[in-house]
């Protein structure tokens, strides 16, 4: 799965470059997040601004990714597009994550950097 990772001193930004996180992509997504976050020890922001479709399998994979990082390293979200936002709202999972408009907004606040 196409993703990029940028590591700053106190935050890692993971940008998903695919349009879909669905049943086909879910396992690959989890494996790639595991690989990209293996080295760091900071909180992470998952930038979903290029993703226009997440279904329940994709949502499950994002929750799994959050668990992979462990309780000391929160996973936040940024850039939710309309359908993705709807999935998080209807399943109430929007309460489980901190959600920022953009990764830049997350970088500007200290809120993202601590658990």
């Amino acid at each position: 799965m196409k993703m990029t990772s940028e590591i700053t001193s106190d935050l890692q930004i993971i940008t998903v470059l695919e349009k879909r996180i669905d049943g086909v992509a879910a396992i690959q997504f989890k494996n790639d997040v595991r690989e990209l976050t293996a080295e760091g020890d900071t909180a992470a922001i998952l930038d979903l601004s290029n993703v226009d479709f997440v279904d329940s399998s994709g949502l499950g994979a994002i929750v799994a990714a959050m668990k992979l990082l462990g309780t000391d390293r929160p996973l936040h979200l940024a850039g939710l597009t309309p359908i993705v936002s709807k999935v998080f709202a209807l399943t109430r999972m929007e309460r489980v994550f901190k959600i920022f408009k953009t990764p830049l907004e997350a970088l500007k606040t200290n809120e993202a950097k601590s658990a």
Partner: protein
Amino acid sequence: MPEGASVDRVHSFSGLHRTPSICLTFPATQNAVRSALASITPSLRTLCADEAMVGTAELVLAEATNNIVEHAYVEVDDGTITLSCFKEPGRIGFVIKDRGKNFPNYEIPPKKNHDLNAEPNALPEGGFGWGLIRDLTTSLEYRRINGQSILRFSIPSTTP
């Protein structure tokens, strides 16, 4: 409706008396579901210039058809899914058919009420599908007719 119900009622429920705007049969695999959705969403956009509604339809169709792949055909590797769409005033009607296992008790599964205050490691990674389908559709109905599962629902337009 019990198995072997009258032909007229069967045809009425499964939409056979109407000509669908779109009808597609595809293999019951996750990759085929993805391809089917990719081919159907542009057609939905042509039927109804309502981007929010098309997005909702894509999500509901993904949930309903992936459920068939993962549950109805769990023991079958050559199953097929047939999807029909009907343009109706203010909404699009959908009929999805498969020949896999029926729902337990012939009932559409309920919306699961997950405990989201649970500690992070206990948070759910699945079981969201039927809640999404129930939240986003109207006239959701299920029938098992002559060994075929028929799921029917409508998605309303978001614009008047």
